[in-house]
């Protein structure tokens, strides 16, 4: 049976996907990447329309959505975990050197 997706990856180059339902620890995030379904183990609660990492992101790495930089990781972020203000910041106003 065809499984429904529960997240959206806007650009194939993105580091984060956006959940379209509330996800919980142990759920599997499912989104399309270049028309292929990708599955990610969700490690913590993700509210509806919030983001989770689709790869491991190291501290100080850029975080991409829409194929562009939306922020910089302020700590290491594991694949499948929640991405929001607590672990990324604006690359201009953020907490890095600039």
């Amino acid at each position: 049976m065809e499984e429904k997706i529960n997240a959206i990856l806007i650009s194939a180059a993105d580091d984060v996907a956006t959940s379209i339902v509330e996800l919980n620890k142990g759920d599997i995030g499912k989104y399309l990447k270049n028309d292929e379904k990708v599955r990610v183990d969700i490690t913590e609660a993700i509210p509806k329309f919030h983001k989770f990492a689709v790869r491991d992101i190291a501290k100080n790495e850029y975080v991409h959505k829409y194929g562009e930089v939306i922020g910089v990781a302020t700590q290491d972020i594991c694949k499948g975990s929640y991405v929001h203000e607590h672990n990324i910041a604006s690359p201009i106003s953020g907490t890095l050197e600039n």
């Binding site: 429904k4 997706i5 959206i8 806007i10 956006t18 379209i20 399309l32 028309d35 509210p47 509806k48 329309f49 919030h50 983001k51 959505k65 829409y66 194929g67 562009e68 930089v69 939306i70 922020g71 991405v83 929001h84 203000e85 990324i88 910041a89 604006s90 690359p91 201009i92 106003s93």
Partner: protein, 388 residues
């Protein structure tokens, strides 16, 4: 791919065939409303300006009025003035004539001797113009002759996630077909202006994108406002938006991924095809008006919370990826993108469907805003300062 349109004598292609009853000053609004109301095929709109304006505002008014008359969806225009306004019928006619050779008539209420005489004369002129317009036949034209305006308003989380990216696919496709798409709303690009600027086709375009943002922030500072402070708002953050870059990218993504060929002033017609950025405020009625004045034949308007506004001259197609909204405000909404949210369609597939719907609309299919006849009081002109 082709669309259906009417060839105008100035070479542009319209997808509607309106006769425009144009008040050159607010004092002529009610007279114009009565004229347009009595003639099937005529439209009018509320003009708040034309008098009591500083020169800069007068110019902004004239840009919009002339642009509306020159929009290819208009067959011809009847100017109605009062007689003592700085934006007099003679000046307005001259400005319109410099843009287009379409049919144009003028009436002045003070010269005609009041509302009744003006209406009586205008009705005959409008009737003749509508009959002549109705003799025009639609033909097929390549998409190179289409200029699509893309607007977003009343956004929710689905707007930046689905509706705007789908419109980005539409924009990219239309540009690939040789057509033109225009997006605007400068307050909403702030935060991602460096990203948009990188997409400028020339160093001049890149610099212009940065300059208009600096200018907007300077203007707002004069009235003790900032577009950056407090952004993203607590509501945005609760909705899942983390940084201003992310919020602004959600807005600019409706313009797709092609190079920005030109940055035009508010209500100005571009000189290039492809993706065009227009410098406008974010106020939807104003930025829709400005895009229509620039010559867009059709507007697609993305929303998540719902929005009813239209335009007297162009169809405004309302699209959303919020299925609940689509059901709840169905009489205001034209297309539901929620199949993308469900994974049943890709963004590119939905984009193709939008492009097909655009062709259907050019062929005469009505948008919900057109069915209601919306737009009469929704024409808004940019202001640089108070009236005098």
């Amino acid at each position: 791919m082709n669309f259906y349109g009417y060839r105008r004598p100035d070479g542009l292609i319209g997808i509607r065939n309106h006769v425009l009853i144009l008040p050159t000053v607010g004092c002529a609004n009610e007279t114009c409303r009565i004229i347009a109301g009595l003639v099937n095929g005529a439209v009018s709109f509320v003009n708040q300006g034309g008098c009591g304006e500083v020169e800069g505002n007068k110019k902004l008014t004239q840009d919009v009025l002339a642009g509306l008359a020159a929009n290819p969806n208009v067959y011809g225009t009847i100017l109605v003035g009062l007689g003592c306004e700085p934006n007099c019928v003679g000046d307005m006619a001259e400005i319109i004539r410099a843009k287009t050779n379409k049919p144009l008539q003028s009436l002045v209420i003070q010269d005609e001797g009041g509302t009744v005489n003006t209406i009586s004369k205008a009705l005959k002129l409008a009737q003749e113009m509508v009959v002549a317009a109705s003799a025009c036949r639609q033909e097929k034209f390549p998409m190179t002759e289409l200029m699509l305006g893309i607007e977003c308003g009343g956004s929710d989380a689905t707007s930046g996630l689905i509706a705007n990216p789908v419109m980005g696919c539409v924009s990219d496709r239309l540009v690939d077909l040789g057509g033109t798409t225009m997006f605007s709303e400068t307050p909403e690009i702030i935060g991602a202006e460096h990203i948009l600027a990188r997409r400028g086709a020339t160093p001049e375009v890149q610099q212009k994108i940065l300059d208009i943002c600096v200018k907007l922030e300077e203007d707002l500072r004069k009235v003790n406002q900032s577009v950056r402070s407090g952004q993203p708002s607590p509501g945005n953050k609760a909705g899942g938006i983390t940084t201003l870059e992310e919020k602004s990218l959600g807005c600019i993504h409706k313009g797709g991924t092609k190079p920005v060929m030109e940055v035009v002033e508010c209500a100005h017609r571009p000189s290039k095809k492809g993706l065009i950025y227009m410098d406008t405020p974010g106020y939807d009625m104003l930025s829709v008006t400005a895009k229509v004045a620039a010559g867009c034949q059709l507007i697609v308007f993305t929303t998540g919370r719902g929005n009813p506004i239209g335009n007297p001259i162009v169809p405004v197609l309302k699209v959303t990826a919020n299925h609940d909204l689509f059901r709840k405000m169905n009489d205001n909404m034209d297309m539901d993108f929620s199949a993308v949210l469900e994974g049943d369609k890709t963004m590119a597939e939905m984009g193709e469907q939008v492009l097909q719907e655009i062709v259907n609309i050019t062929g005469g299919k009505k948008t919900k805003t057109e069915v209601f006849g919306f737009g009469y009081s929704e024409t808004v002109v940019r202001r640089m300062c108070d009236y005098i």
